[in-house]
């Protein structure tokens, strides 16, 4: 008998194994649901698939009778806009501050302790301040995402900039590069794929902050909807919404990975 660490599944069984936990979860849900519904047909906690299907029909296909919008799409658009702005601004900040603190010793001396301190502020603790300062509109939600993930991006990119071998930085100078040219031609292009990696890692927190902000004060959005219908214990709506959010998050992660691979072939070739 070989050691278990040396046993590898074939491609087919790997797919099966990957599907197995999902299947088990589904079966557990179906069993639990049927047991509870048998005891109490009005049970709301684990609704039957037919009930969930009806809710999906109501939220994702039929227009809302009051506004005429299809709620799921309106919520998705509102949430993605906030998330997109938050991620874009954080990425820009992360790149700019990360590069500057990563390669300019004076900037590092002046800013890195400050950025480290800011990154330790629990963003949700200052959410009230954001609502007071920026109002209850879109801005405060975007700012919460930025405050939540930008410090991480800045620190990560500063580290990555510092990891560029000193030999390369010196070599560029012997080729006549000014600090600006060095940033533009040597540091920035090598940090872009690392930025996408860091963004992927921070997607989870970005969603967390988005949904938290929407739960507290919003008029639409995926997080808003979930927290609104929570009052009615409407699990038949909450569950598909959560699934949908997960799916979007997965798609974003997948997309970022594909973009990294396609746009930076040398990066994948590095074995990372």
């Amino acid at each position: 008998m070989r050691r278990i660490i040396n046993l590898r599944p074939s491609t087919g069984s790997a797919v099966l194994l990957a599907a197995l936990p999902f299947l088990l979860l589904l079966i557990a849900y179906l069993l639990g649901s049927s047991v509870r519904l048998a005891a109490n047909p009005e049970d709301k906690l684990l609704p039957a698939f037919s009930k969930i299907g009806a809710a999906v029909q109501q939220y994702a296909i039929d227009p809302d009778p009051r506004t005429g919008e299809i709620l799921l799409w309106a919520d998705t658009a509102a949430s993605l806009a906030r998330l997109g702005w938050g991620l874009a601004i954080s990425a820009a900040l992360g790149l700019a501050l990360g590069i500057v603190t990563g390669i300019v010793p004076y900037a590092r001396a002046g800013l890195s302790a400050f950025i480290a301190a800011v990154s330790l502020i629990p963003p949700l603790a200052i959410l009230p301040i954001l609502f007071i300062v920026f109002g209850l509109g879109e801005l405060s939600k975007v700012v919460l995402i930025v405050i939540g993930i930008a410090p991480f991006l800045v620190r990560d990119l500063a580290l990555r900039a510092g990891e560029i071998p000193a030999e390369q930085i010196i070599k560029a100078q012997t080729l006549g590069a000014s600090s600006w040219q060095l940033t533009l031609r040597v540091v920035l292009p090598q940090l872009l794929p690392r930025l996408l990696d860091a963004l992927r890692l921070s997607l989870g927190s970005a969603w967390l902050f988005l949904i938290a902000a929407e739960a507290i004060a919003a008029e639409n959005g995926l997080g808003y909807r979930i927290f609104l219908i929570r009052r009615y214990l409407a699990m038949d709506v909450i569950l598909p919404y959560v699934l949908w959010i997960t799916l979007i998050a997965f798609a974003m992660d997948y997309l970022l990975r594909r973009v990294t691979r396609a746009a930076f072939p040398w990066y994948a070739g590095n074995g990372k």
Binding site: A172, L175, W180, Q190, W266, G269
Partner: protein, 265 residues
């Protein structure tokens, strides 16, 4: 026309003398190889030439001027590793030096100016035998090809001085011969001063016009850092005999053993 004049040069750190009383005059178009035990200031000397380190005492003049305090385009360098840009293709790696000089703001050339520069690049790539690999990313090249690329990158800038820090140490022994031919050819064609650090004393004799040995004259086990290294041999090309080779090997091995023993203790 490049000359170098180093007089009574010292490099000291807080509790350590690295180089002491180094004197050196370098004429135009010399190919100088530098050997010595590790920890004998070869790399410190090279870093001073680059402008990364300042001498503690003494004068260090290039063409009669004090050495600039930072690396610049008149002094090219090839390190043992990591001196090509992995995110650029072979062509773009060599093009970069031209682009940096000709496009101060964006560091990038377009259109006809780019094509003109690429013609120069391709000529250089032919000279170092990388033309076939011109569209590969530097990260995809073998170690030997990366070193060729790094050399091409520096030489296309026509530096006054080319610094080579054990450039072939990480390569297969079979490759070194090719690399020696390449570097000698470029040196003859481009008329520059080359300083090459090597661990291999034989390589030091085979290449170049002059061999410098950096060594500690005094080894004091009680105060190992009190005395620095200096140039103990300054040998013109063509006088290499077996006795001299053996003498140098014995000398540097003795220092190497001394340094290593200290490192262990």
């Amino acid at each position: 026309m490049t000359t170098l004049s180093i007089r009574r040069l010292w490099k000291e750190y807080a509790d350590q003398v690295v180089l002491e009383n180094v004197n050196l005059e370098v004429r135009d178009n010399e190919f100088i190889t530098i050997v010595g035990a590790s920890g004998c200031g070869k790399t410190t000397f090279l870093r001073m030439l680059l402008g990364e380190e300042r001498p503690t005492r003494g004068t260090f003049l290039i063409d009669g001027e004090p050495l600039p305090a930072e690396p610049g385009p008149d002094r090219g360098v090839v390190f043992q590793r990591y001196s090509v840009f992995p995110h650029l293709t072979v062509r773009d790696n060599v093009l970069l030096g031209l682009e940096l000089a000709r496009a101060p703001r964006l560091g990038r050339l377009f259109g006809a100016r780019r094509r003109a520069a690429l013609a120069e690049v391709d000529e250089m790539l032919h000279a170092v035998g990388l033309y076939e690999a011109r569209d590969k990313y530097a990260a995809q090249l073998s170690g030997g090809m990366q070193q060729r690329l790094s050399i091409a990158q520096s030489v296309i800038k026509n530096p006054k001085i080319l610094l080579l820090d054990e450039p072939f140490a990480a390569l297969d022994p079979g490759l070194s011969a090719d690399m020696h031919k390449l570097i000698l050819g470029l040196w003859e064609h481009h008329k520059m001063n080359i300083f090459m650090i090597t661990h291999d004393i034989k390589e030091g004799f085979e290449l170049g016009t002059r061999l410098l040995v950096f060594d500690k004259v005094r080894l004091d086990p009680q105060a190992p850092n009190a005395y620095g290294a200096t140039i103990t041999y300054d040998i013109p090309l063509g006088v290499c005999g077996k006795p001299l080779l053996d003498e140098l090997t014995t000398q540097t091995r003795r220092t190497e053993r001394f340094v290593n023993k200290l490192a262990v203790a």
